[in-house]
Amino acid sequence: MPKIKLNLITGRTIQQGVSMEGGKEKPAYTAACGIIELDPEDFKKLGVYRNTNVRVTSEYGSVVVKAVDATQGPHPGLGWIPMGPWANMVVNPNTYSTGMPTFKGTPVEVEEAKGEPIWDSLTLVTKACRGEL
């Protein structure tokens, strides 16, 4: 099973903003933020179809999200997870004495996650806190 290495960045999208205000417990929030936007080139390397569940792993954690086409690309080599609990499972929490975790520029590995579910935000955070992930 191929694995690809990417540089992960996070941030706001309008869908993230709208679904966040609509309720973070709702499926729309998971659909907006439980995703990773990949460049078509990276999709080829990974060898999976669009809308496949993938596992994103960094030195700091791991999370299952849905791989979708980049909406604001091309950006080969760069992965994008909208800001939210899914991204925060894997970002670099080191602040290097500034108070600011390093949300942008985390090296990650992406691989297919057959049969693994994408949790909604409340379940994801609760399971992570209980150590059930």
Binding site: N7, I9, G11, R12, T13, I14, G17, V18, M20, E21, G22, G23, K24, E25, Y60, G61, A70, Q72, G73, P74, H75, L78, W80, M83, G84, P85, N88, M89, V91, N92, P93, T95, Y96, S97, T98, G99, M100, P101, T102, F103, K104, G105, S121, L122, L124, V125, T126, A128, C129
Partner: protein, 437 residues
């Protein structure tokens, strides 16, 4: 026939649009329509009307279920938890009004808390840089009326501040900017081809995390000095071209966002961006402005600024104000186990802090004041729902350019619900009794 409430202020982002019109039912209890707002702002107003909204405080039980409690019990739990803690963290403060921020700070003073706002994961590094090198800035009105050179660096207003470009920066026709967008040159610096970048005259697709190099290269280019063939993935020809565009304007502005504040060089990126602005003022008039996220994160910095002299990471645990980012900032305190209770208001660290910090909140006595259900309410022990500021109660908020704007109340909150301010006033009174202050 619905009533129309005009000149409503949108409580979502730092643009703080003040031209919304909201249609309410004749009896004034229900919001029917929202006009002029962006998709996010409209959703915020409409979601306040949700049928499944939580309207009473809830306490988490041993088995993980929730039990409804009264506001009196919630006040008691909050006050006793804060009063008993040696060093509580009081975090958030960005989605509430300045009145609530001021009274909350009084609680912080009494219990010796560390007060921190969402700037800690947003523009905190900007505030550090501003303290390092100063900041030449202006108001959004000046940009509307004067600016003919606009740079968006590491920010994506098309998604994060959806009406910013149409109200102030790119499209409107102002006093000296009668041609609107045609008279303005727009440069976007972003590692992705964002929807903002797609509308720009020039897009510099910088290598992620190389903003510092590109900013210094611009400073070299202003002086016409030698540059290597490419800097941060941008050919030198383009850098010289952008430098000329910037120097040739009458009034320019750099807006910047999380692309620079959250990348590895952090405050050093902003230092350099401010130095670029300072250099440009040798040739023409330039300004720089952070694109603040929450509608009143600027306000919490202002309130703490005039109360204690520091805009975030305010440590009152020793009885006087200390400020030391990296030491008194939320994420550092949480991962180092330096706080023994967490109080969250008007923010969602459960969703927006790295998971290592969220796990610490889970283990501590914790209180979350939030109208929504969020990952933070899921990890906290007590959830206190309150009225939406800017929808169900008014109050003062500061726009991203430090202009204070009074929010309007549009409808009443559901019966029996308290506002942030009312709840905090009751907690203050109880903490005062407990502390004998």
């Amino acid at each position: 026939m619905a009533k129309l409430v005009t000149d409503v202020v949108c409580p979502f982002c730092g643009t703080l649009c003040d031209d919304l019109e909201v249609g309410v039912s004749d009896d004034g209890t229900k919001i029917l329509e929202v006009y002029n707002a962006c998709a996010i702002g409209a959703e915020k107003f409409l979601h306040s009307q949700a049928k499944d909204r939580v309207t009473r405080p809830r306490m988490k039980q041993e088995d993980g279920s929730w039990k409804e409690i009264s506001y009196d019990e919630a006040v008691e739990y909050t006050a006793t938890t804060l009063a008993a803690a040696r060093k509580p963290l009081m975090y958030g403060w960005s989605s509430t009004n300045c009145e609530a921020q001021a009274i909350g700070t009084e609680i912080g003073e009494m219990v010796g808390a560390v007060m921190d706002n969402t700037a800690t994961v947003c523009h905190g590094t900007t505030l550090i840089a501003v303290q390092d090198v100063g900041v030449p800035s202006c108001t959004l009105g000046e940009i509307l009326n004067r600016a003919d050179r606009i740079v968006f660096w590491g920010c994506n207003p098309a998604h994060a501040h959806p009406r910013h470009m149409s109200r102030y920066s790119i499209f409107p026709r102002g006093f000296f900017t009668g041609k609107g967008a045609k008279g303005r040159k727009m440069v976007v610096v972003d590692p992705r081809v964002t929807d903002t970048a797609k509308t720009a005259d020039i897009h510099l697709q910088v290598e992620q995390g190389r903003d510092y190099e590109l900013l210094t290269a611009l400073r070299v280019a202003f002086k016409g000095e030698w540059l290597p063939d490419t800097v941060a993935g941008i050919p030198k020809k383009t850098i010289y071209e952008v430098a000329d565009i910037m120097k040739s304007g009458r009034f320019g502005i750099i807006f910047f966002g999380m692309g620079v504040t959250q990348s590895l060089s952090k405050n050093h990126n902003i230092d350099q961006a401010i130095c670029v602005t300072r250099d440009l003022n040798e040739y023409t008039k330039w300004n720089i402005m952070p694109m603040r996220g929450h509608y009143n994160v600027t306000g919490s910095g202002e309130v703490w600024g005039w109360l204690h002299g520091f805009p975030f990471a305010l440590d009152l645990s020793r009885g006087f104000a200390r400020y030391n980012p990296g030491d008194t900032t939320s994420n550092d305190l949480l991962v180092r186990d330096e706080v023994d209770a967490v109080f969250v208001i008007g923010s969602d660290p459960g969703a927006h802090f790295p998971n290592s910090s969220v796990k610490k909140i889970w283990d501590l006595p914790s209180i979350c004041i939030d109208p929504h259900l969020t990952p933070t309410t899921a990890v906290c022990k007590l959830h206190v729902p309150v009225a939406f500021v800017g929808v169900e109660t008014g109050g003062c908020a500061y726009r991203m350019d430090n202009v204070p704007i009074e929010c309007r109340k549009v409808v009443d909150p559901p019966e029996g619900m308290l506002t942030d301010l009312e709840f905090l006033e009751r907690v203050t009174a109880r903490v005062r009794e407990l502390k004998g202050a």
